[in-house]
Subunit: 343 residues, 3 copies
């Protein structure tokens, strides 16, 4: 019997199945520094323990997206090793900050299955939870991927498509315990713009760009223990290119969004996201944002802002889709998330 | 007098000479994260403090190979700066795990000398010990290298070739104090295969491949404070290529071997190793293993497994040497080591 | 109103103006490991907590240049985002070591302004202070940059050129509290040469070279949260090259200077520095030093040595300027600093 992991195929999933993913991970000062080395991350709450304490937290947490990548990476061997495409995200919530010394693990439940009409592939929906060493859920989200069948003759399962929220409401969001922006230091944070200064519909060109190198995205992807071959192996694709992990583009775009959204400190909700076009080494990633919604929260001084974050490979800002309704070729990422901002 | 280190030449060594190597090094959370960023390392005992505690250790140690690289790196300015080739390893033993906050230093004793018949080079055998801040030996191993003579007319020393064990027996191995695999969590570790599931003679193709970039291997080699010029300086070789530190290939292959050997958790013995062919940036490293031996240990639930680990640049798995008895051109590394596995 | 930071232009500065820079930063084990991965850093006091304790410090501090880069990086969005050139440094002093867990922030005072005769640019002089979480100044230095005017018709300010010391005297230097080289371990430090072994006028070729990769300098520059576009964005320059942050060259040269100056442990003064020619990926950086001065200090066993550190892209050592008084094309950096060395 082969001892290596062939990954699961479409016919290996059943609705209700729970998969406990392998390789728990203790995170700390090293992951934090590497995150700052890999992305131009400058949000003060994740850069300075003192700033985080000034916001009511015990210290600076691991970047929310780093926590996401760690939880996500664990799911790859079980969920997307034979995936053809990562189709979408929904109902993502950050429930608890991750601090240095925490150990994360992941578990996924299959919540939907739909075989494609070609009979060769199907869509698998999973709800993934990331837990810390106290079994507290730190993060959960739904993801759906298109997965190959190993045996094309395997019977199609009953179609179950989960009913997912298009957008989380502010009441779905969990504000980290103790978070308080009443004495927020805008000077140290880097920009004067508060929640009240942003208007729904407003767009922001984040101006800066970062050219991506192979060594960088591979180091990032390994750091999150994401095992998808296509990110590491130049012999995997006929054109010799390595496909950059979509999460690398998310983190790059989010870091670039500091310039204009320096006070969108914590990410608490992920409404959806599409990796519109593949990203490869040598491209220069730029980003723009659009304010989609705003809401007050019960936490002192804390407002919620819903943002569209778009990563491009240098196209004109604010252009997203063509007349055919499809993403423009320059668009890499279209992400819809909730962040917390001082009111 | 020149103040820079010219390195030692063959005639500078005497049997019995002890060299205390410079630049002690405190390791910690940063080295651990970098190890995970540079290699696709997933062995749970080195990834999770919680998992390590479940195996009877106080926390997750530094990867055994990282400890090896740190100890090894210190020897380079004194042993292999003028080396023509790294010829072999023997009798390597990991005696004690290295934890965050430990400070490592190295010392080598010259245990053999043999001038080559050309009169221009000779073989130097050293036994190197790595010590922590409590003067406990954490690692020792024998290495032999071919070193240039500075003065071809220097007299040949008496030939002393140490009598080295071809293979460590299980009684030579030191099991870390407290190690206990009785309650080993195979789900979190990533694979169900236990010691009893492996047969002597069995071969495993680890399937995955990683393409190596210049920035990655140079960062690794610097991190271990290995000063061999050929790894960093594109002007050093006529072809402009940088030779990748052999230890980088070892770590890459070991990390790749997770897929099929996820439960070969701790490395405790190094029987031998050959860097069969040089590795350069742009190559895609793959790996396969062969089970060479198995033995029980006295530690609860802990078995020992002796493995051949072969790194290739993409050649067919399980092919090692040609009819002429020489390593095939695609073979980069042939390593023989003992690991510990749950029974 | 655009929410992104356009940077300041020449007419936006006034003498006496104080700018508190954004994004405080907690440093630790991760930054330390990354510093060792990015540069061939081997000075024992920064590598080993035990060695640092043997020199009277509580533990190994963050490399002095890493502290400089963190403090410097924060000034970029406010001082040099629209800079045409970084013209010089003076009166740099390290006042207190930075330890893991410290949080750094920066503040700059405009101390001089001089519009250029072309009316399009001007020189801005700032004194920058880096502070830790206890509001102790850890570092201060003067820097002057040439900055574009946004409006060429803006009136020229009164010219104020600060009176800066060409060289700090030994009395200007601050020796870290408790530093004691009486029991300095030259073997562990890596070289036997003490303060008394160096002569004013002596030159040292540091021999080794390191070829620089894009991924490395970009990771370094991001780690210091330096936001200057030209370092990251391949589309910024017409030739598609990314200009390497000058501080990356400083750290590379300083690390290379270990070979011959292993005992020049702590940097305490920066008299001046010029980035003589731009550095790009693919170049191989080499370094040489010249002893400019020596002085005793009041600390036990501690001498001060003033060094010229020159980074080249492989030119002949010890050649600095041509007959025209200009830096030779191969010279990348000419730095004048004070270090502390065992007597």
């Amino acid at each position: 019997m082969a001892k290596t992991n062939p990954g699961r195929f479409f016919e290996d999933y059943q609705v209700g199945q729970v998969i406990d993913h392998a390789v728990p991970r203790t995170v700390g000062a090293g992951e934090r520094a590497l995150y700052h080395a890999l992305y131009p991350a400058r949000h003060a709450l994740y850069s300075s323990d003192e700033f985080a304490r000034g916001c009511g937290l015990p210290e600076s947490p691991l970047d929310d997206l780093a926590a996401f990548h760690v939880v996500f990476g664990k799911t790859v061997p079980d969920v997307s090793l034979n995936a053809v495409a990562n189709l979408g995200y929904a109902e993502g919530r950050w429930l608890r900050p991750v601090y240095a010394g925490d150990t994360l693990r992941s578990s996924s439940e299959v919540i939907g299955l739909k075989q494609n009409s070609n009979g060769k592939t199907g869509v698998v929906y999973v709800r993934t939870r990331g837990m810390n060493q106290r079994d507290e859920v730190v993060l959960d989200y739904v993801r759906w991927v298109m997965v190959r069948k190993s045996n094309p003759d395997a019977p199609a399962p009953d179609t179950v498509v989960p009913d997912l929220k298009k957008v989380l409401s502010v009441d779905d969001l969990v504000i980290p315990e103790g978070l308080d922006f009443s004495n927020y230091d805008f000077t140290l944070a880097g920009e004067p713009h508060r929640w009240g200064d942003y208007e729904v519909g407003e767009t922001i060109d984040h101006v800066d760009g970062v050219t991506v190198e192979e060594a960088e995205h591979m180091m990032a992807t390994r750091l999150w223990q994401n095992t998808a071959k296509v990110h590491f192996d130049a012999t995997f694709r006929p054109d010799g290119q390595r496909l950059i992990y979509g999460g690398h583009v998310i983190s790059m775009a989010r870091a670039l969004s500091f310039n204009g959204l320096a006070n969108a400190q914590m990410i608490v909700g992920l409404n959806g996201g599409a990796h519109a076009n593949p990203c490869f080494s040598g491209l220069t990633v730029k980003a723009w944002s659009e304010v989609l919604d705003k809401a007050k929260t019960n936490a002192p001084g804390v407002g919620a802002i819903r943002l569209r974050l778009v990563a491009t490979r240098g196209g004109a800002p604010f252009a997203l889709k063509g007349e055919d309704g499809k993403y423009l070729p320059d668009v890499l990422l279209d992400l819809d998330y909730w962040a917390l901002m001082p009111i």
